[in-house]
Symmetry: C2
Subunit: 298 residues, 2 copies
Amino acid sequence: MNLDQLLNNASHQSNKIVALAAAADPEVVEAVKLAVEKNLASFILYGDQKVINEMLTMHQITPSETVRVIHASSDQEASKAAVTAVSCGEADVLMKGMVSTSVILKEVLNKDYGLRKGKVLSHVAAFDVPGYERLIFVTDSGMNIEPDLSQKIEITKNAVGVALTVGITIPKVAALAAVEVVNPAMQATLDAAALTQMNARGQITDCIIDGPLALDNAISSEAAEHKGIKSHVAGNADILLVPSIEVGNALYKSLVYFANARVGGVIAGAKAPIVLTSRADSAQSKVYSIALAVNSTR
Amino acid sequence: MNLDQLLNNASHQSNKIVALAAAADPEVVEAVKLAVEKNLASFILYGDQKVINEMLTMHQITPSETVRVIHASSDQEASKAAVTAVSCGEADVLMKGMVSTSVILKEVLNKDYGLRKGKVLSHVAAFDVPGYERLIFVTDSGMNIEPDLSQKIEITKNAVGVALTVGITIPKVAALAAVEVVNPAMQATLDAAALTQMNARGQITDCIIDGPLALDNAISSEAAEHKGIKSHVAGNADILLVPSIEVGNALYKSLVYFANARVGGVIAGAKAPIVLTSRADSAQSKVYSIALAVNSTR
């Protein structure tokens, strides 16, 4: 499985609908255009109808069943309308446009009409790394700053859920630390050991968890053998669970900037996948994120 | 400057001497052979003379002024002798052979004959990353688990010292975090801001420090511009100061395994550079580490 196969899968189930909050932005409309060209999904664009229509014209998109526009007079109203569309089943995926993350998340977490489901929302990134034939998922590099064990359990479950829906049977989860031994002075190793044992006891299912593992042990069989690590995960991890947002961010950026990896990302843990792309993401990355989200809907 | 230029520099100052503690190991002797072939340094090998001599014969090395053997009957004795050789000026670099890190560090830190100088020993890694024309230093990915601000000051000074000795004038230090804004909930951003201001006030000299910076802002001018960051460091960092050992380890391994970077590393902060290679390091990496250490001697 790689990101282009995800694109392909998504284009074969193109009945999915993305509710896009605050779409009145050229880069957002550009991403919509690319996604529609790839036949990934239909879109409902919420925001200033006049401005959005001008941008659609500029991008030579004619409003149709595939790209509908619904007027909203503020970012908050657009966010509420998009969230409501998803929670009542009119749309399958929520996507953030030009609205601040805090505004849209407030609507997502609203108890009356929001998309609250699990205990924790977390970011799941799927990477195509040159030289690696499988998708490598990294979580959570964007939402939870310093997750404790309870949060790591939810973060793991969220990522396993995404990996399962894109077709990875029994994902292998490496709980990362700086070393592969349990060290009482290193919290990441203690949490990793606890997660491993919770998996062994059937408390976290549908995956195989092993940790602590350093990154090399997790993704290189040779490095794991060097250390004499016997594990079903070592060398073959599908999901890299990072101990903190700093590790996640550095690993994410290192993959994109140093290793020239391609990436798509989604927020998991709500009733539907959420796409939160930022200006810094390439157009290609935005399209992969939409494809990952469409694949993550059941 | 890149690692091959470091090799070249080291071979032009080949009067440097490496004291190697516990050398009776085929892989260690192999590294010595490669280093001698590159004309990097002379070596004094401490350990079981009979065993070391057999290994030298196996590797077709004849003991000479370039490779001397001094008998030691235990790892502790070999470590003590090698440390003493460096502290009394007989040798310029200390190198760890087949002895556990804790045994040799105990001798390094000995108050009577050890190599104690600054307050903190820290690991400094120098990377050649494909596509980047300058050396990128990462610190500390190996010694200090969760450094506080005081330790980060010393870690920064140690890395700046190494960068200066290998010829980088006024190294640019990026204090890494997950975001580029100061966030009271993220200690890495607070420490980064403090380090930046200490540098501005002349408390940390011979370098330019800026932070918090996320990895992309630190190494990509385009990413920094996207975020509107004005900085002499952003996009051009020489030294990446990581907030924890987990970040350092993940970044280090990501560079080696995902980005195919070449690396050499040295422990700084003692009276002389210390080479602590491990079995997992490639022969090439061991040679780069020796070259970096030889360059780091003043």
